[in-house]
């Protein structure tokens, strides 16, 4: 097992990290008062690194992912993303940062039901004002093997196909960071395998860092590194066999 560096908190050096958290704490209010969700997490994830995040329900996995996506603001601590300090960044700037540098894949796919597959993939490219949005979206769809489903609406696609469209949408802007929240949680095992293969291939092709939140320990082991979170703290951070082989 890899022992986290008490200062750096990760296998990646701070200077090459695309995600960097320092003493990150998150508290949310509830009916019973403030609840501490994340309790001082420090970690760095380097470019191209694949990280699986394991932990029981309610441990703070999804909250960690939301922090990394700039969707939740830290109560205390600091977070840098793709070289930007986003700790107190305004919401629209965070949106622009996600558009350019972060791709997200959800368990429930989150495709826009009124748009075709290619239109869904084109949205972040259009938001970035790219003239070739449609072409690049088509290429991204082709890269996940869905070039024959371009003009289908989400409800005309199978669950696996919808998730592959979501992956294509996440990688189309060539982000530096890919965040996936239980991406196979809604899929059967056969379909899951196909989707995961697509996700890893796409991440590799894009050269992005992947943070994959999952309950599936076997799936986490396919990443280069596995973090275990319990009660809002990282209790284990190790390089997997796959990671070691890659190194």
């Amino acid at each position: 097992m890899h022992t986290p560096d008490p200062d750096i908190g990760s296998t990646s050096s701070a200077s090459s990290a695309v995600i960097h958290l320092l003493e990150a704490r998150l508290s949310l209010s509830s009916a019973d008062g403030m609840v501490e969700i994340l309790r001082g997490i420090s970690l760095a994830i380097g470019a191209g690194e694949t990280v699986g995040v394991l932990g029981p329900s309610g441990a703070g996995k999804t909250s960690l992912l939301m922090i990394m996506a700039g969707l939740e603001s830290l109560t205390t601590g600091r977070i840098d993303l793709a070289g930007f300090d986003i700790t107190r960044m305004p919401e629209d700037s965070l949106a622009a940062l996600r558009r350019d540098h972060v791709g997200i894949v959800f368990q429930a796919f989150r495709l826009i039901p009124s748009m075709t597959a290619v239109q869904n993939v084109a949205v972040p490219l259009e938001l970035a004002g790219r003239q070739d949005a449609q072409e690049r979206a088509a290429a991204a769809l082709a890269s996940v093997g869905l070039d024959h489903r371009m003009t289908h609406l989400p409800d005309q696609l199978s669950g696996g196909e919808q998730q592959r469209v979501a992956i294509a949408r996440a990688i189309a802007p060539r982000p530096r960071i890919l965040l996936a929240d239980e991406p196979t949680g809604n899929l059967d095992s056969g379909t899951s395998e196909k989707v995961i293969a697509t996700l890893f291939d796409a991440t590799r092709a894009a050269g992005a860092a992947l943070v994959l939140v999952t309950h599936d320990a076997a799936l986490a082991e396919r990443c280069g590194r596995v973090l275990t979170i319990e009660d809002g703290q990282i209790t284990d951070d190790r390089v997997t066999a796959a990671g070691a082989a890659h190194q």
């Binding site: 200062d7 750096i8 908190g9 701070a14 200077s15 960097h20 320092l22 420090s42 760095a44 999804t62 992912l65 939301m66 996506a69 969707l71 939740e72 600091r78 840098d80 070289g83 930007f84 300090d85 986003i86 700790t87 107190r88 960044m89 305004p90 919401e91 629209d92 700037s93 949106a95 622009a96 940062l97 996600r98 558009r99 350019d100 997200i104 959800f106 989150r110 495709l111 826009i112 039901p113 009124s114 748009m115 239109q119 949205v123 972040p124 259009e126 938001l127 970035a128 004002g129 949408r169 929240d181």
Partner: protein, 855 residues
């Protein structure tokens, strides 16, 4: 660990594309699945715009009809009108220099055949009549230009109404005055008949010779003389009008030209238009609550999409623009549909109106009223959609992970509140453009806002009261109560929307019941059986003997009367007063005047004092209070009358408070003795009868002795009054109906906005073992309770409004009608319950299993 600031920065990234172009592209894609959710929104908007546009178009069409047919309506290019006597010879000879003249005389008279006597509007014409247009006479060949009318000596043409009322046919004989006449034809169309919804008796047309033979044309008889001029040369119009105006400056002759072809009717059209436009606007504003509900419900359903777009990097501004464009696209469709309906509907409206309005109206498309209606639709949609849209941009992308389903609460950002304030001002500006009456628009909008605030307050009190109730044991009742009292419940908007319509209904119904009861009571207690008019001074003593001598006649009142025009009041010319003033009628036409040495029996003197009974000094006048207040005069001011061309200036020395609703004879002005007695005048009298037999007898006795005296039945007058009150009530009820339809939009919006919640609730309840009947009962109770609350609020407001109207405006006793209030409340509750349940029924039919997988 430390993060080195040198290698990191927090400079905001470029905002990317949040422009209208991208918003439009996204909106176009997003709108696909949204149209069906906006049926209510579309319907409400279409109705409101169509109503306002139709009213405006019909009013324009009628104005066009009047200005386009001004010569036909006026019966020439210039009309000179006098009362009692012909226009002076020098005016006639001056007019003759400019073209052809035609004379008519009009008066009321009694037409009598073997069985019946009926009050008619008699019109005698000379050989030149009509100068413009062609009368339609049934039973004779069409009259071509130049051919004379079949009006020989002793013949008349009659209104078709007389064939029904008296059974008269062509060739029958009847009596007018003491003269026997033969019906020569039925007058189906009379070209220069004035435009009016109300007429005083059916028309009979005769020649001047026949009128002379009837003996009705006596001094003091109220005869309106009209001299119409058709110009030989139209280029002389301005010169002729100016010359004749100068010649008639003393005020005895009233002159009208083509610009004033239908004076009272113009005002009527303007007022009706304003009233109906404001009704339409109220409907739009109430419908707006439904619009806001529909937009909020729709945006709630789009929350995952909004959050996804934000996750993908969409800035807040882009979200606002994308959804604003969609709402305005849908609003545009509703407005366009409303405009199309408004362009077509006037054809049918005019068809309906044609039986009342004698103006030939041709329908065209009038862009201005349609544009104003469209403006109302667009601005109202924007105003009511703004709040939910502004909140939509606050939806957080984090919602995608946390599954939060409710829209962000609280006020939108300051900039949106500013935009809302500006939009409100634009709406007020549009309302002013449509009504052209600042005070009326302001008071109407102010009144509506006050009513809404009152309803909102009452709603809040009722909800708080319900919260204090212990939870019922019966589960469906408990569910219903909690649905209404929970935070964010739509109860307030439903109470406002339905409450407003129901309040108007309660007010109208209670007021109408009170007024009708009052009239009925007064008719049985105070009303005379007959008004007799046109009694010659030489006849009054014999008349009194006959009337008082008829068995069963309990009382006979009499008063001398002649008509005159008020040319100046309080030092101001009558023409300078605002003709929209509530008492402008006093100045508009000829007023009945009387004189008396002693104060009238009815009417208390509230300012000044009555003259000595033997007063014989300069003319003094007594005026009624309401009219004096409206026209801004009081004791010490002067009034100038024009009676038969003679100018009489009098000082107002006292003010009387008169009950116009009573059946006693009241005059706005009563003069001191010694001023009017010398002028040709007539008397009018009232007879009170103990029973119907006595009433019939006195009329017969008077008719037998005096052929020229006309009798007006109070019963008929009361029927007319009741009919007018009914019409007014119906007009106001139209407001209530329209606002209730708008209330439906709000209810439908409410049902739509709670559909997702309702679906989830019903699924869970079904899983827990609730039957569909139990869920149905819970929803029925919920909507019924909503209806009861709205009706309760409406009853309180309606009763207060009606009480204020009856007690303050009409100064009479208000009586509560509990049955009526109960019916309104029950109907409100039942209507809301049924409509709400129909809307929610779709949800109930869904099976739980597939939905449980979604939840």
């Amino acid at each position: 660990m430390t993060l080195q600031s040198g290698t990191h920065n927090s400079t905001p990234l470029p905002a990317g594309d949040s422009g209208w172009g991208l918003a439009w592209r996204l909106a176009r894609r997003e709108i696909r699945g949204s149209l069906s959710r906006f049926r209510v929104f579309l319907g409400a908007l279409m109705l409101g715009v169509a109503a306002i546009g139709t009213v405006g178009s019909v009013a324009e069409a009628m104005r066009d009809g009047i200005s386009g047919n001004a010569r036909l309506l006026l019966g020439g290019d210039i009309e000179m009108r006098t009362l009692y006597a012909e226009p002076p010879a020098e005016v006639v000879s001056l007019a003759r220099q400019y073209g052809t003249l035609a004379r008519t005389r009009e008066m009321r008279a009694m037409l009598q055949n073997a069985d019946e006597r009926k009050l008619v509007a008699l019109k005698a014409v000379d050989d030149s009549w009509p100068l413009v247009g062609t009368p339609e006479i049934v039973g004779t060949p069409e009259i071509e230009g130049g051919a004379s009318l079949p009006l020989g000596p002793g013949t008349i043409l009659i209104d078709p109404a007389l064939t029904r009322a008296m059974g008269l046919q062509v060739g029958d004989t009847a009596r007018i005055g003491s003269y026997e006449v033969t019906v020569a034809g039925i007058l189906a169309y009379e070209p220069d008949r004035s435009v009016s919804f109300i007429t005083f008796g059916p028309r009979i047309l005769m020649s001047m010779e026949t009128l002379a033979a009837t003996g009705l044309d006596q001094p003091g008889a109220m005869i309106t003389h009209r001299l119409r001029l058709l110009l030989d040369d139209q280029t002389e119009r301005v010169a002729a009008t100016a010359a004749l105006k100068a010649a008639t400056a003393d005020g005895f002759v009233r002159l009208r030209d083509l610009l004033d072809a239908a004076p009272g009717f113009d005002v009527f059209i303007d007022r009706t238009e304003v009233f109906l436009v404001l009704v339409g606007l109220t409907a739009l504003l109430i419908g707006g609550l439904g619009v806001a509900g529909a937009v909020r419900a729709w945006l709630s359903s789009r929350m995952p999409v909004i959050a996804t777009l934000k996750c993908l990097g969409a800035p807040a501004r882009l979200i606002f623009r994308t959804y604003l464009l969609q709402v305005m696209l849908i609003a545009g469709a509703g407005v366009a549909a409303g405009v199309v309906v408004a362009a077509i509907a006037p054809i049918f409206a005019i068809d309906l109106l044609s039986s009342y309005v004698t103006v030939p109206i041709t329908m065209a498309i009038y862009p201005l009223p349609l544009a104003i209606a469209a403006g109302f639709g667009v601005v109202t949609s924007f105003l009511f959609a703004l709040w939910p849209l502004a909140k939509a941009e606050e939806v957080r992308a984090a919602n995608l992970f946390r599954q939060l389903n409710s829209m962000p609460a609280g006020r939108p950002r300051g900039i949106y509140l500013g935009i809302a304030a500006v939009t409100l001002m634009v709406l007020a500006g549009l309302a002013f453009a449509a009504t052209r009456d600042l005070m009326l628009t302001a008071s109407f909008i102010g009144g509506s806002l006050a009513a809404i605030a009152l309803l909102a307050g009452l709603g809040e009190i009722l909800v708080r009261g319900l919260r204090r109730l212990p939870a019922p044991r019966y589960v469906p009742a408990r569910l219903a109560l909690s649905a209404i009292t929970r935070p964010g419940s739509p109860v307030r908007s439903v109470i406002i929307a339905f409450g407003l319509g129901l309040s108007v209904l309660v007010t109208v119904a209670l007021s109408q019941t009170n007024i009708s009861r009052q009239i009925d009571t007064r008719v049985s207690e105070d009303a005379p059986a007959w008004f007799f008019i046109d009694i010659q001074p030489t006849q009054i003593d014999s008349f009194m003997q006959i009337a008082e001598g008829t068995p069963g006649i309990s009382d006979v009142g009499r008063t001398p009367m002649l008509r005159g025009r008020i040319s100046e009041l309080g030092g101001r010319s009558s023409d300078s007063f605002d003709m929209k003033n509530g008492s402008a009628w006093v100045l508009r036409g000829d007023r009945a005047l009387t004189w008396s040495a002693t104060p009238p029996e009815t009417g208390e003197i509230i300012a000044g004092s009555w003259w000595q009974s033997d007063y014989s000094g300069p003319p003094l006048a007594s005026m009624t209070a309401e009219e004096a207040l409206d026209l801004g005069v009081w004791v010490g001011d002067t009034v100038v009358f024009n009676v038969l061309g003679r100018r009489i200036k009098a000082e107002i020395v006292n003010i009387r408070d008169v009950e116009w609703e009573s059946f006693s004879i009241n005059f706005v002005f009563v003069l001191s003795p010694g001023v009017l007695e010398a002028a040709p005048h007539s008397w009018m009298a009232t007879t009170y009868a103990n029973d119907d037999a006595a009433a019939t007898a006195v009329e017969r006795n008077v008719a037998t002795e005096f052929a020229n005296i006309s009798a007006i039945s109070v019963r008929e007058a009361v029927d007319t009054a009741q009919r007018v009150i009914g019409l007014l009530g119906a007009a106001v009820q139209l407001t209530a109906a329209v606002t209730l339809v708008a209330g439906l939009a709000v209810l439908a919006g409410t049902v739509a906005s709670t559909e997702a919640q309702r679906l989830a609730d019903s699924v869970i309840l079904k899983v827990l073992g609730a039957t569909r009947i139990a869920i149905t009962i819970a929803w029925l109770l919920e909507y019924a309770l909503l209806g009861v609350l709205a009706a309760a609020a409406a009853t309180i407001i309606g009763t207060i409004a009606s009480w204020a109207m009856i007690e303050t405006l009409l100064q009479s006793d208000f009586e509560m009608d509990f049955g009526l209030v109960l019916i309104t409340t029950m109907a409100g509750a039942a209507g809301t319950a049924v409509l709400g349940l129909i809307g929610a029924a779709r949800t109930l039919g869904r099976k739980p299993a597939p939905l449980l997988r979604e939840i």
